[in-house]
Amino acid sequence: MSRKVLTELGVAAEFKPKRRGRVLLLLCLPLAPLFIASIVLGGYAIHPWDALMALAGGGGAEESLIVQSIRLPRTLAAMLGGASLGVAGAILQALFRNPLADPYILGVSAGSSLFLAISIFTGATLGLWTPTSPYSLYTAAFIGALTVVIVMVALSGVVRTTTTILIAGIMFSYLAYAITSILQIFADIERLRAFTYWIMGSFSGARWSILSPGLPLLLVFLFATIFLCKPLNALLLGEDYARSMGMNLNRARMFIVAAAALPVSIVTTIAGSVGFIGLSAPYLARQLTRTSNHFTIIPASALLGSTLAAAADLLSRLAFKPIEIPITAVTALFGAPLVIYLLLKGRGVQV
């Protein structure tokens, strides 16, 4: 083969960024209509024009109230939360080198819920805030999520089979729910009512009061993950190879573990356990972009996670209007079959 052809091949191999930009742009497209639909549709339908006026700060008092204090926070929570869950899933899948890793399946969401329950029912908040302050909730959820991720990482060093880790995660979820149920039985009515909010798993309760510390953090997280792509790519070749190329394994692992735990804990605090978005978004991202390069997979997972969460949230409030169903009931409809499919496909699945 001539030198020229080779160089052209080289150019082709390096062309990826352009194709990548196009795919990512394409994935942005559904976000705008979903955003509008999410603002407009619901128990009380609002005319798009009125919604626009309300967003701009004008319009009727009723519309303005619904849009500004219910629909808008809910939509933003679903979209940013979904994006973060998608990214968390992609990170966990790279860390465990397992396409079935997902914050919900691995029990990270359950860990967050458990610590939320402990914090609310026992009032243990390190003495910093009141038990129902958003800060104590976020802290508790983060500690819970972090604990589970660390336990799972340690466990994955011992058992190397893909499915064993998943079973361990699912069992951990059961354990967490069991403890949570016991705590509920002994809880007083006031605290119980505060907690039922998280059991459901829905973005319906997202209010500015609880979102205000969480959403900016999610936004920062989403942009910061771009710095994780390089070590995540190196880890595709395995830990020893990554280290031989100069990756500081312990430091990278620390960041990756924190980056997986943080968004899950925030989303769990806002909406309770939201399942399968962290599983489906990276899977779809890899299918659509045909790459394992995290510089593509991470943003694509964010966009797809956002789309999936917003769509699922919309469905959860429209399917049996005016009754809302938990969001995981919607996401499980496509998530659970996907898990089964991936399990059947076995080892050939790519990360």
Partner: protein
Amino acid sequence: MIETVNLSAGYGGRPVVAGVNISVRGGEFVAVIGPNAAGKTTLLKTLARLMKPLGGVVYVDGAAAARMSAREIARLVGAVLTEQLRPTQLTVFEAVSLGRYPYTNSLHTLTDRDRREVWRALADAGIEHLADRRLSELSDGQRQKVMIARALAQEPKVLILDEPVTYLDPKARVEILLTIKRVAREREIAVIASLHEVELALRMADRLLIVSGGRVVLYDSPEEFVALGGPMHLYGLDGQLTFSPELMSVEFRPGAEDKPRLFVVAGGGSGALVYRMLARLGYQFSTGVLHKGDIDYCVAALLGGVIIAEQAFQPISPENVHRALEEARDCAAAIYTSPPIGPLNSENQILAETIALQGIPLIVLGPAEVKGAAIRVESLAELSKSIEMVLENVRAVEPAPARR
């Protein structure tokens, strides 16, 4: 380029290999060999700084490796490991450009220089044409070349390879080792590679590092290794394996079965394949009269045959013919391999005829005319059949003579 002083490698505080003192120059190829579980991988990982040494010092490019950051080491030492790759959709170009990890910024932006190095590495490994392919579409040999190119993209001064060609087909094995050798010389990289096959190591390596029983048994050239008795002291060869210094090859000697002994009159290379076939079929054999240093002599010795030998370039003496005849009398049958006959070995034709005269069934392989021959065959396949046939007949008449 890389030097160790009293290095001791192991894990959990327990040394696996201790007292390693080596010094490898740029362009030099050192093969690490030794029995399984002798600690080759542990040693290599310690040299690549993937494991901390239990004791001693590793100097890379004149500086103590312990004082360097992971990034600094990665710019000097590249590694190809036995780690199994999970299926990914990474392209070859992406995988090789990961080798630029210690040079790029935290967004892994490839500069012109990075790109140039990636292409140079791809070219050196001979896989430019695969740049666009995905790792999961490649053969094992191609994937190994990708991992080597990736290590080369690190612009290393030292290349550590753990069993780089195990599980590959013979063609890919040789191709990859030759590639490594060539690139190492061109780029003046010090190469340390563990190899499973001693013969491959003997033929490829500038120096051998033999690890056995927790220490370095030998660190010298293949020639010195052979002079010291070859791999005998490596694996404690127990008669099942033999080593031929002339052929630099290790031979498997099949266990002797309860089959009769055969006498082979050969020479000049006409017997080598016959010996191998007999050994494989489980026959014991005696052979003669061979000249020392003849390829037939080497192969027969390797396979443990009884050899009646004459000094090289000397005419066969009557004493040796006599000894050969004595030996043949103890055999159930004889084979004449039609060796080229000249002034120095014309006695072998007479020997064959005398054997036939003595009533020992003689099979002639090839074109030679021998008086009194029982059967003539044209090929080795026919030979194996006719041996069975002849032995059947012998057994029908009298039991095979017991051997000493």
